[in-house]
């Protein structure tokens, strides 16, 4: 049960981050040339893979209770950020993430940046693609490592993330446009709930608490977080209808 949830969480989290990375890579490739953009992507992927290869085995060597206490708490704090932003978006207090608008902005900025003649690799295009993939990928690496290490299934979490990367990259190559039809905001909400739930479960277990029903109670924690989040969205919507949403989504 938890293996399936772990795979699905890593997959959805990775997919949503890769959709964002794809938007940046497309802007870099179209405006500054594909050689520079793809070199930047390759360099970032190597850096991210090195981080997983180095940190994964190191974390796996830590005793499980201590690992779950530390990593579960970090995951919980990290997940609360996601959930808080998702609730603010769903209730209209924060602008909805819009890939088309972000793509247009990135493309305009990349086209306005001065070109450096005589170079095979355009530094701006390389850096834009490298930073985009690295920063979005870091969140995926954090999730893969924390989920994988705490569940003692780094390979499965990495597989979920890799499947999402392949899927998003494949669709991106096919459509050559930002994947604005992907229900990104709903996916971010789901990831926020999963991160918070897994973090709560593992942090409590690491602190010495015993869950009734053992692993099965994770479903109860997820249900509890879903219901609470839905209630908080409803409360904020009721109390904040007059307030206009923020102008731009980060």
């Amino acid at each position: 049960m938890s293996a399936g949830l772990l795979f699905a969480s890593a997959f959805v989290a990775s997919a949503v981050e890769m959709v964002e990375a794809l938007t940046i890579v497309l802007a870099a490739g179209i405006s500054r040339g594909w050689r520079s953009a793809l070199t930047g992507v390759g360099a970032a992927v190597v850096a991210l893979a090195a981080a997983v290869a180095a940190l994964g085995p190191a974390l796996s060597a830590i005793p499980l209770d201590g690992l779950r206490l530390g990593v579960g708490s970090l995951l919980l704090v990290f997940g609360l950020q996601w959930l808080r932003k998702a609730i603010l978006r769903a209730s209209g207090f924060k602008a909805i993430h819009d890939e088309d608008a972000i793509f247009a902005r990135e493309l305009r900025e990349a086209q306005e940046a001065p070109a450096q003649a005589g170079r095979r690799i355009d530094p701006y295009g390389f850096t834009l693609a490298f930073k985009g993939v690295l920063l979005e990928g870091l969140e995926v690496v954090f999730i893969v490592i924390t989920f994988g290490a705490s569940g003692r299934r780094i390979g499965l979490a990495a597989l979920g993330a890799a499947a999402a990367v392949v899927l998003v990259a494949g669709v991106g190559v096919a459509v050559r446009a930002p994947l604005s039809r992907v229900p990104e905001n709903a996916m971010k909400f789901t990831v926020g709930i999963m991160l918070t739930s897994f973090g709560t479960f593992w942090a409590a277990e690491g602190a010495g608490a015993h869950w009734p029903g053992s692993d099965a109670s994770l479903l109860g924690v997820i249900a509890c977080m879903c219901a609470s989040s839905a209630l908080l969205v409803a409360l904020l919507r009721r109390n904040g209808l007059a307030r206009p949403p923020a102008a731009a989504a980060p």
């Binding site: 704090v77 603010l88 709560t200 942090a203």
Partner: protein, 67 residues
């Protein structure tokens, strides 16, 4: 120069994990510590963290929407 880079590195990771609401991080740390204290005293403790998480989330949303 090195100190500035270390500060920037630490700031990046702080922002990455904790974000702009450090109070939530501190409250979660307290809740985990309280769970550990209850468990160490052989008191049933699993219920504390989910309740604390919901309370921390509610407080964080209030700060975000009122601030």
């Amino acid at each position: 120069m090195i100190a500035r880079r270390i500060r920037a590195f630490a700031h990046f990771w702080w922002d990455f994990v904790v974000g702009d609401d450090w109070r939530s991080g501190a409250q979660i740390a307290l809740a985990v510590a309280a769970t550990a204290a209850l468990a160490a005293a052989d008191v049933v403790a699993w219920w504390l963290l989910p309740l604390a998480v919901i309370a921390v989330l509610y407080a964080s949303l209030l700060r975000a929407t009122r601030g």
